[in-house]
């Protein structure tokens, strides 16, 4: 299998790498170690630069006015864009924009006018509402938010958890049980405006990383039938499809911080002298660095393989789960070792390791835990529905 980058991929990667090193990293010297956004002037300036470069929202399909960069290239770029302190959760501090939730492409023309195009233009922001206090990995059973048809509307009651950005979003894609007798076919995705009466941000939920997430409650929230995204009862398939896609760049972004951590660790190991010898001469350190390299290179192959399968239109659910599991866990080990190599400095907020250490831990849980990825893979491997 040829994993050689094309000339086009290499040129795009070189450009993004230069941007991260020359535009993003220097700004971090003056930011709070936990910052997840730039000051408004820098934010505006960098977004304008990226738009001028034609690299804003690179994943946006050509038919919607974007450059339509393919998923293999985007997987490679996710690894480049996260190579700075805030890179795991705020790659390039959002300077490259983000593409709209893929579900919106499946909306009706009216829904696209109302939600998709404003999101593309940056006028509206969306949140994703799948998980509930009762669980997130098994939406077929854990979704308790209930929708009851009433004429041309649905009355929705319940709540959601772990919805990043829901407190500032204009709308969300909310998964609701509309038919309790039909299991996974009884779940429907609704487009819910956050100013709908009955919609409430119950609380901000503080987590390991510096940015919070939310808990939402819905009380007699009346949503028109026309706000259903896709088919009634088709929500589960819609969610599953997108989750599998999202896992690949999500996985690859973890590799980016690992790559940067390894660069720093190698340089430090050569500089730092203990008992008259550089750390790099100590076998204990050499093995850590080699193990890092093995972790990074093996998981990168798996992530690119998953992306290549998705691009070729082949089944990639198994591979995207494997990439998600391997990359998140490998990055966790790499960051842990690099922190160890740096000793006391590894814990200091002067260095990015402590932030990466906290944030990369979330990655084994977010977008489906390592365990649920194994369940997904086991189902495919054994061709059984219930592996849990």
């Amino acid at each position: 299998m040829d994993m050689q980058r094309t000339e086009e991929q290499q040129l795009i990667i070189d450009t993004v790498r230069k941007f991260i090193r020359e535009e993003i990293r220097p700004l971090e010297a003056d930011l709070d170690p936990d910052a997840y956004e730039l000051n408004p002037e820098d934010d505006e300036r960098l977004r304008a630069m990226v738009k001028e470069m034609g690299m804003y929202q690179m994943g946006l399909p050509v038919e919607y006015g974007g450059p339509g960069v393919d998923i293999v290239t985007r997987t490679m770029l996710a690894e480049e864009m996260s190579q700075h302190r805030a890179g795991l959760y705020a790659p390039a501090y959002g300077a490259f924009g983000s593409s709209p939730p893929e579900h919106l492409y499946k909306g009706t023309d009216e829904q696209k006018e109302k939600y998709l195009y404003p999101v593309i233009r940056g006028e509206k922001h969306a949140f994703f509402g799948l998980s509930e206090p009762s669980g997130g990995s098994d939406p077929a059973r854990s979704i308790r938010t209930r929708g009851v048809r009433d004429g041309d509307s649905w009355v929705i009651n319940g709540g959601k958890l772990w919805n990043s950005g829901a407190d500032t979003a204009d709308f969300g894609i909310v998964y609701v049980r509309t038919d309790p007798t039909k299991g996974r076919q009884g779940i429907t995705a609704f487009l819910v405006d956050t100013d709908t009466p009955g919609f409430r941000v119950q609380r901000l939920v503080q987590v390991l990383r510096s940015h919070y997430t939310t808990e939402l409650s819905f009380t007699d929230m009346r949503i028109p039938h026309s706000q259903i995204l896709g088919e009634e009862g088709g929500g589960f398939a819609l969610a599953n499809d997108t989750l599998a896609h999202n896992r690949i760049p999500y996985a690859s972004a973890c590799l980016g911080i690992a790559v940067y951590a390894q660069e720093l660790a190698i340089e430090w190991a050569k500089q730092r002298v203990t008992f008259g010898e550089p750390l790099a001469n100590r076998q204990a350190i050499q093995w850590m660095l080699v193990d890092n390299e093995i972790d990074m290179r093996t998981s990168r192959w798996i992530a690119l393989d998953a992306a290549a399968r998705a691009q070729r239109g082949e089944s990639f659910r198994f591979e995207s789960s494997m990439a998600k599991l391997l990359c998140t866990e490998a990055a966790g080990r790499v960051i842990d070792r690099c922190m160890q190599i740096h000793g006391g400095l590894g814990m200091a907020k002067d260095m990015p390791f402590e932030r990466w250490y906290r944030e990369v831990r979330i990655r084994r849980i977010g977008e489906g835990t390592s365990e649920i990825q194994r369940v997904v893979m086991a189902r495919d491997l054994l061709n059984v529905r219930s592996g849990s």
């Binding site: 086009e8 290499q10 450059p67």
Partner: protein
């Protein structure tokens, strides 16, 4: 106007010092593993200067030429991605281990072969060896005027108007065409390539010329034709001597520092 930009691929100057190695036996820099070579920064600035002139003068063309091995094609592609029109790689084992003279002679032969060139823009120096000779020697080979260390280049007057950096500011000179200009970092930052141009650049074919294509003999290029002999290449010894300036306040310490620098005849 047809402008040629001379572009060199060099080891990444951001290479960590600990990864920089010299092979004493061959007197060569050992390429750092896993760190790709890059376009010399000054040449990126020369490309920016050429592209601005191209954009201001309809019908203009920019050709980028590099002398180097296969990998130097990526430096050419980078300038193509910035907006240059064509690329030529001078790639022949006979070109290896030359000096500024043979590099300029080879580049000049390529410029002559192109035929319709109005101006040649080079970086003020290559960011690896920092010789700063090739631009001047190309002008000598071509018999053209040369303006070095430019912070601004525009079309106008007899041909080009150039703001040259001098010790206490800059001077504006005018040169007829054809001419050679070396561009300095004071010019400003090179642009980031745009995605559509990257896509177009990736599809472009880089022309490759060898010694015979340029009408040169193997004996007058590369190591065979070099006039400069490298005796010894070594890294400077690392180490630091720290002297703390006495004084109870920043003002007293500054005064002590000035006194010390004067005593050592540094200022």
């Amino acid at each position: 106007m047809h402008i040629v930009v001379c572009a060199k691929q060099i080891p990444d100057p951001e290479t960590p010092p600990s990864a920089f190695r010299i092979d004493a036996a061959s007197n060569k820099v050992v390429p750092a593993q896993g760190i790709a070579p890059v376009l010399s920064q000054f040449d990126g600035i020369a490309a920016e200067a050429a592209l601005r002139i191209k954009e201001a003068n309809a019908g203009s063309k920019v050709t980028v030429i590099s002398l180097g091995a296969d990998s130097a094609a990526s430096a050419i592609k980078q300038v193509l991605a910035m907006g240059a029109d064509e690329g030529v790689l001078l790639n022949d084992p006979a070109f290896e281990d030359g000096d500024s003279y043979t590099t300029a002679k080879t580049l000049a032969a390529a410029i002559k072969k192109l035929g319709d060139v109005d101006a040649v823009f080079c970086g003020r120096q290559a960011a690896d060896w920092d010789m700063g000779q090739v631009g001047l020697l190309i002008a000598e080979e071509m018999g053209w005027p040369v303006s070095i260390i430019a912070k601004g280049v525009t079309t106008g007057g007899a041909g080009l108007q150039i703001q040259r950096v001098v010790e206490d500011g800059y001077e504006t000179v005018e040169t007829p065409l054809p001419a050679v200009v070396t561009v300095s970092n004071e010019f400003g930052e090179p642009r980031y390539p745009k995605l559509p141009q990257i896509m177009a650049a990736a599809k472009k074919t880089v022309t490759q010329w060898k010694t015979a294509d340029l009408g040169l003999d193997a004996g007058e290029v590369g190591a065979a034709g070099a006039r400069l002999k490298l005796e010894k290449l070594s890294t400077p010894p690392r180490g630091g001597a720290v002297e703390l300036m006495p004084g109870d306040s920043p003002e007293e310490q500054a005064a002590a520092l000035v006194a010390k620098l004067r005593a050592d005849k540094i200022i």
